[in-house]
């Protein structure tokens, strides 16, 4: 196989997978605390919009990333308030967040351009790819692993850190306890509600950051429906990953790879209808979900936190 083609597929795989890793790991942390947030798509959408709007008007990419984190966290805080404090139905609350975020981003995308006009199609600052000296010159892996933007590099530290925190630290242990058995966690003196708020908001911030990677790097600019279901794929990847941040990377690379193949085939002018190529990620999500659910059921493993989606209320009367 042509080396330059392989390098290009590998590079696009990583670039396409970056937003998925952030969003998936964020949702893993949220779900580990027992809160199901189906608003990932909406939070990513708003993160993408906010990041691009800020970058366009201020020229500051750092500020853009910060605002994306804040917007994602703020939206997730609404979900946390409804799910934790008001004990609302988490499925419907998350869906509402997606509908609201998508609508809001579409509205703002038509108002936040110069002079209250469209943001669509504008060119703004984007995250540059920074080749790392020497490493980026390694054959094959060099150009794809070590010539990326800062958010992709961020993954090399973020993902191991996320895994270590969850499995090897005391707060990570508490987090898992809150999601598995809030009664026991409460008896241990852990503030269940505070943990759930914290990790729901953290999950939202990471979804916002994932969205920012789309508008600042992957597609460069704002477009209606920029996420194209990536938020939902992230929710599916949580199950694929069996709530393990390290396994999330495998899933994200798989989907990034599908994107890369799609991209290369379209560029090469294939005879396969583009609609079918565009369906691939969605068909793959369903197939992967079916296979993984079947496989894990066979092994009698239930990866989901036991208290996922259930509101927790301390019993007042014995």
């Amino acid at each position: 196989m042509d080396i330059s083609l392989l390098v290009s597929v590998l590079t696009i795989t990583l670039r396409a997978g970056t937003s998925l890793v952030y969003a998936t790991v964020g949702e893993i942390y949220t779900e580990r605390s027992g809160i199901l947030n189906l608003g990932v798509e909406g939070m990513m959408m708003m993160g993408a919009l906010a990041a691009f709007a800020v970058a366009y008007h201020t020229g500051s990419l750092a500020l853009a990333l910060l605002v994306a984190l804040l917007v994602g966290g703020l939206l997730a805080a609404v979900h946390a308030f409804l799910s934790v404090s008001l004990r609302a139905n988490q499925v419907v609350s998350g869906l509402t967040l997606t509908l609201f975020g998508t609508g809001m981003a579409s509205f703002l995308g038509q108002r936040l351009g110069p002079g209250g006009t469209y943001l669509v199609g504008l060119v703004g600052p984007s995250l540059k790819r920074i080749p790392i000296p020497i490493l980026s010159e390694l054959p094959l892996v060099g150009p794809s692993l070590f010539n990326q933007d800062i958010l992709t590099y961020g993954l090399y530290i973020f993902v191991p850190l996320a895994g270590w925190y969850l499995y090897k630290t005391r707060p990570g242990l508490y987090l898992r306890a809150v999601g598995e058995n809030p009664q026991t966690a409460d008896a241990m003196g852990i503030h269940v509600a505070a943990f759930r708020y914290l990790y729901t908001i953290l999950g939202g911030m990471l979804a916002g950051l994932g969205g920012a990677h789309l508008s600042l790097s992957y597609t460069k600019g704002w477009a209606e429906n920029i996420t194209g279901g990536r938020g939902w794929i992230a929710v599916a990847l949580v199950i694929f990953a069996m709530w393990d941040p390290l396994r999330a990377v495998v899933g994200a690379i798989l989907f990034g790879g599908i994107n890369a193949v799609q991209f290369r085939m379209q560029a090469a002018g294939t005879t396969i209808p583009s609609a079918l190529l565009n369906m691939l990620p969605y068909i793959a999500t369903i197939l992967v979900l079916v296979v993984i659910t079947w496989w894990e059921t066979l092994r009698k493993r239930i990866g989901a936190p036991a208290a996922l989606g259930l509101p927790y209320a301390r019993e007042e009367k014995g």
Binding site: A88, L99, M104
Partner: protein, 369 residues
């Protein structure tokens, strides 16, 4: 002082009525802030939305036209939600309904006796929606595959599929390159009552009545309600949950497919862009705000159609994004969800230190009762 949340013995009726009204006011206030922030007078905007959706026969007609698919999909989604099956695939089921109805109208109409064309179009739409809905149902019922994701992914697949058809193989050769199929033959048209309001409105009312009867008055409906309220109890009672999931989704998908069939044969009279404009997602809000009650669904569908048509109007008249409608919809459902706390629970303010007294009083009350 401390706030104590207690479960009510019975759902509060007044809260049940008040919560939707308060939610509506909240959504309007939130929208007003957003409009003010973007330099527009919210009162003028809301007046334009109301006039555009309700002012005059034509406006009201357009609102009803949009209410019909919301009614069908809202009914379909609410039935599935009753069983805690999270069907968020109404959009795709609607698209597949439109696809199958179009297939029959374009390619089979000539081979069928003309009286049977319209029924065939409608039935084809329902069957296609049912099949599209049954796939995630089978996966969930027998393999435990998470249905929120599968139903949603199937939306993207269905939308890409129909768009491929009307851009490519099914495109009208005489359509000057316009993406869309040829117009259906007249025998495949759903009759209109006035303006563009078609027979679908009556079908929706009938469907709601049947659904109400099935849920409230039949044994199967009872099984669905029990499963939704207490899955554990349903299992102990020997209810075949897996089988019911599939049956419920066949019906839910059929209703959504019917929405699609009515859109292509009653409104557009062809398959083209504009079939999948988010009715299936708005249906989630319709179902939840209508409290999964068929009559409630009909009313909320109309209300949300007012917002949708109003959104289109402010886009046309004032150059404001029609997405305002979706922002308002989201803002409606948040307080609605939070409000459930007040229908199911009671809040009491308890003085700290008085905890013991509080407990004794409440147990005293229990004894007195």
């Amino acid at each position: 002082m401390r706030v104590v949340i207690e479960k009510r013995e019975a759902i509060s009726r007044s809260a049940r009525l008040l919560v939707p009204i308060i939610s509506f006011v909240f959504a309007l206030i939130f929208g007003a802030i957003l409009l003010l922030a973007s330099g527009v007078n919210p009162l003028v905007t809301y007046a334009a939305m109301a006039r555009g959706a309700l002012g005059g026969r034509h406006a009201l007609g357009e609102t009803l036209v949009k209410a019909i698919p919301l009614m069908f999909t809202g009914l379909g989604v609410s039935l599935a939600f009753r069983m805690l099956f999270w069907n968020i695939g109404a959009e795709g089921q609607l698209a597949m309904g439109g696809l199958a109805a179009t297939g029959v109208a374009l390619f089979l109409a000539g081979r069928l006796p003309s009286w049977s064309v319209l029924p065939a179009v409608i039935v084809a739409g329902m069957v296609a929606g049912a099949v599209w809905g049954a796939i995630p149902a089978l996966l969930r019922a027998y393999l435990k595959v998470n249905e929120t994701i599968t139903t949603l992914m199937m939306n993207y697949i269905a939308i890409l599929w129909i768009s491929h058809l009307y851009h490519g193989p099914w495109r009208d050769p005489g359509g000057y390159g316009f993406p869309g199929t040829a117009q259906f033959p007249p025998e495949a048209w759903l009759p209109r009552l006035f303006d563009r309001v078609h027979l679908g409105i009556l079908l929706a009312v009938v469907a709601a009545a049947i659904l109400w009867f099935v849920i409230q008055r039949t044994k199967w409906g009872f099984e669905i309600r029990v499963t939704g309220e207490n899955p554990q109890a349903a299992r102990y009672a020997g209810i075949d949950i897996a089988r019911n999931i599939v049956l419920v989704m066949l019906l839910s998908g059929a209703l959504c497919g019917l929405a699609g069939a009515c859109e292509v044969s009653g409104v557009m009279r062809r398959l083209q862009q504009g079939l999948t404009v988010g009715y299936g997602y708005t249906a989630i809000i319709v179902a939840w705000m209508g409290q999964l009650n068929p009559l409630g669904v009909l009313l909320v569908a109309f209300l949300l159609a007012v917002i949708l048509v109003g959104g289109d109007q402010i886009q046309l008249a004032m150059g404001l994004p029609a997405a305002m409608a979706f922002v308002l919809q989201g803002a409606l459902l948040f307080p609605m969800l939070g409000g459930a706390l007040f229908t199911e629970y009671r809040l009491r303010i308890v003085r700290t230190g008085a905890r013991v007294t509080a407990v004794t009083t409440s147990s005293a009350v229990e004894e007195a009762e």
